[in-house]
Symmetry: C2
Subunit: 133 residues, 2 copies
Amino acid sequence: MELLRKSGLKVTPQRLSVMNVIMEAGEHFKAEEVYRKLKKSEPSITLATVYNIFRSLTDNGIINSFEVDGTTWFESNLDAHANLFCEKCGTIEDVSLSENSNLLEQFSLDGRKVRSASLVLKGLCTKCSRNSR
Amino acid sequence: MELLRKSGLKVTPQRLSVMNVIMEAGEHFKAEEVYRKLKKSEPSITLATVYNIFRSLTDNGIINSFEVDGTTWFESNLDAHANLFCEKCGTIEDVSLSENSNLLEQFSLDGRKVRSASLVLKGLCTKCSRNSR
DNA sequence: CTAATTGCAAATTGTTTGCATATTC
DNA sequence: GAATATGCAAACAATTTGCAATTAG
């Protein structure tokens, strides 16, 4: 609620529900998934509304988004990290950068301006990597 | 030609044309752009064909792809680097990683398997950054 | 009361697919 | 000659838009 207010966004039940889903630590969702989850408790909600909400939340820096194979994922973790898409189970796993690595200072920027960075990995998550051994 | 042969892909004029466009150093293209470019010299070519070609080239590791805001870009630079999407002029600029940074060793991987990494930046390219000062 | 947001349907964009024809190897 | 690729039209998936009705501040 505070986050919405701080950004001048109106506090609607739909927005609160979407935020409830997305704010769980370490969670990553696609719009469609959130829509399906919410449909149960909030049957009137629309996929378009979910998309609209995600747009205002990302525009206001409340959540983060990144894309994998043509679809957009959302997460509440705003710290610099990589997202690993597991090619076996289709989930996303956060991958922290090694301590001595500050992602945002890794580039030779020479007079460019970087506003956002998205580091997406593809491979096998911890669980699937273990199971495939 | 050698690259195609090595991967067991048939050498067709369409594939050669696409590769000619994409192989220019530092160039980044969307399928649609390549299609428009080639339409002039090769009027029979189709957007679907361009997409098919890009798929076989990426599947065989001949070129690289990454996505920005829902559209896929292709490049021939296979070295580890970041791609900066300029929000002003809409082009992509390669950004090399600082020497002491090996992108693929930056993560705390602990038993995960990483097959590919895509680092996409958004901001202003060198030219637009200069012009906006 | 006013501006913002929702819900709905329809439109758009980027990309893929099925299939007949043509082309490489 | 067999397998693969092209061209074309049609299908698809993800996302956005226009607009009327509703709701938050």
